[in-house]
């Protein structure tokens, strides 16, 4: 199966970065490839480019089905003709993050010696992902972006873009994001990483050359994380204590409860499409994320002088990156004198609400982008 996956991966649209990538951790990566997709058309003065950044388990297929996994587009509600991120108006670019497993160089790519990198791959950061995206945008001949938009880890990238290259980002839309991982965030992802690394099939990270896949560990990692993406009230609404295909409890460790069956399905369907080492590297990158750390612990200083127009979204029942985490970013941006808007969407759908039907969120995003496009004469 791994071979079949690789054949298709090689067919994805990608660009080889012309220069080595210097990473925050000190390593220098050579021969980096970035897989990406675009939709819409770039206008004559190249002022309508929008970068859509994906979350932990996402990819570059925001607007079209993924031909490798066969999964549908992950943001069809927001990206497309006539949608809030209107591909009739904007040139929408989405790339697989550095360290990812959908065509961009990562731990599953071939490393030195012709074998997969595995855990020899250098530890990367959100800032490094953004550096790879900046190199991609430059290689595409685009000098500045109309907007950088992303949810969750994608929102972290949008923030990092504004801090790294504010002059090249007219607007930024971080959605359900945080300026740093909390102890609770790190704790949950550490559970996931330990689950993967405790799976004997992980083989000290060298499972690919041994023809193994740590599917059990990766599935548990996904299950643990998924709990944080949904709210308690949504779990209650959907499942409560309902039993799965049975009239009474079986007094065994089968998936008696619907919520168990649901979580197991989340885990099992994940392992077919995702690389375990990528999961380690990308969750680590999020753990290391702390925008204020580079600025003496004062988040407002990270945004000093930034001209970018921000619109942040949070979801009331999100306990992964709660509204208070977004509020902290808004406060820092306001203190830095930035143009900042924040919308708190009232919903019980939790962190994953940004993938789901949320009319208020979609209408507000559309309103912000349309008004901002007017300011950019688009």
């Amino acid at each position: 199966m791994a071979d079949a996956l690789k054949t298709s991966l090689s067919d994805l649209r990608k660009i080889a970065l012309p220069a080595p990538l210097a990473l925050e951790g000190g390593a220098v990566l050579e021969g980096v490839e970035v897989a990406y997709e675009t939709s819409g058309a770039l206008n004559a003065d190249k002022s309508n480019a929008v970068l859509v950044c994906h979350a932990l388990t996402g990819d570059q297929f925001a607007a079209a089905p993924n031909p490798v996994t066969g999964r549908p587009a992950w943001w069809p509600r927001l990206v497309g003709p006539g949608k809030p991120i209107d591909t009739d108006k904007y040139y929408v670019i989405a790339s697989n993050v550095l360290g990812g497993c959908m065509g961009t160089t990562g731990p599953a790519s071939d490393g030195p010696g012709g074998t997969p990198w595995g855990v020899r791959f250098p530890v990367i950061t959100i800032g490094d992902m953004v550096r790879a995206q900046r190199a991609l945008i430059e290689a595409l001949g685009i000098e500045s972006l109309f907007s950088v938009i992303g949810g969750s880890m994608g929102g972290m990238q949008a923030l990092d873009w504004a801090v790294q290259a504010g002059g090249q980002v007219f607007s930024a839309v971080p959605i359900a994001a945080a300026a740093r991982h909390s102890a609770q965030n790190i704790a949950f992802y550490e559970v996931g990483r330990r689950a993967i690394m405790s799976d004997p099939d992980w083989a000290e990270g060298a499972y690919l050359e041994k023809g193994l896949r740590p599917e059990r560990g990766l599935a548990v990692a996904r299950m643990a994380a998924h709990i944080t993406y949904v709210s308690e009230s949504a779990l209650k609404r959907k499942f409560d204590r309902g039993l799965q295909d049975r009239e009474a409890a079986s007094f065994s460790f089968d998936a008696d409860f619907q919520v168990e069956s649901y979580l197991r399905h989340q885990g099992e369907s994940f392992v077919d499409r995702f690389d375990a080492n990528t999961y380690l590297y990308v969750t680590r990158a999020m753990d290391y994320f702390d925008l204020s750390a580079r600025h003496g612990g004062r988040l407002a200083d990270a945004f000093a002088g930034v001209e970018t127009r921000f619109c942040l979204f949070s979801f009331s029942s999100d306990w992964h990156y709660p509204p208070s985490a977004t509020r902290e970013i808004t406060r820092a941006l306001a203190a830095a004198g930035a143009r900042v808007s924040q919308i708190d969407v009232e919903t019980d759908k939790g962190h994953d609400a940004f993938f789901l039907e949320e009319p208020g969120f979609e209408a507000s995003l559309r309103g912000f982008l349309e008004a901002t496009a007017e300011a950019r004469a688009l």
Binding site: T330, R331, A334, V340, S341, Q342, I343, A363, T372
Partner: protein, 200 residues
């Protein structure tokens, strides 16, 4: 632009050109638009309702969806030249806290409010033994929290280190002239009023 509200125009007339202005309880951004058009102000808003905040975004204004009673802490000290509270201070749970926060955020504050010191309202209470009605609805509605007179608000402002720079009555026929003195007359004669406050 037609249909500008007289009190909005009056508030904008007290704001300097190109000032940075925060409108607390900005609704759908009507006053923000007047401030921008009349003064070229960098006008931003805080609004509790999703519909209002969305309308502001659509008009291109920066707006933070939040509750003035708790969320003004988002804004930095002296982040604005002026803060505006248009017909909303009496609806706050903690008006003293809110006004204190505004004094931290901006050196000048403009508030417009329903003046319960107006002679007709005094007469209502005197003659009927019932509280004069709030702006909308009944006395027990959640929105009508703090009926107060112009004198009450000037007194609160003084406790917070704010003095009255000017005041104007707002009636059915429009907004009267801003004057530096005459609180007694304003408190008796104005159905609504605008206070222009500044730090001492």
């Amino acid at each position: 632009m037609t249909g500008r509200r007289a009190d909005h125009v009056a508030i904008a007339s007290r704001v300097a050109d190109r000032a940075r202005v925060l409108d607390v309880g900005c609704g759908d951004g009507e006053l923000l638009a007047v401030l921008q058009e009349m003064r070229g102000a960098d006008a931003r808003g805080l609004e509790i309702s999703a519909a209002g905040a969305q309308a502001c975004l659509e008009k291109g204004f920066s707006v933070i969806q939040g509750d003035a009673d708790v969320d003004l802490e988002v804004f930095p000290d002296n982040g604005f030249d002026a803060a505006v509270l248009s017909k909303s201070l009496q609806d706050m749970r903690r008006p003293a806290h809110v006004l204190g926060e505004l004094a931290r955020i901006a050196p000048e504050i403009l508030i417009s409010f329903r003046n319960y010191g107006h002679w007709r309202r005094r007469l209502t209470l005197f003659a009927t033994g019932r509280m004069p009605a709030p702006r909308t609805g009944a006395w027990h509605d959640a929105e009508a929290l703090h009926p107060s007179t112009a004198k009450d608000l000037v007194g609160l402002a003084a406790e917070l280190g704010l003095s009255v720079r000017a005041m104007a009555p707002v009636g059915e026929t429009g907004v009267g002239a801003f004057r530096e003195a005459g609180l007694r007359r304003l408190n008796w004669g104005a159905a609504d009023a605008i206070l222009h406050l500044a730090r001492d």
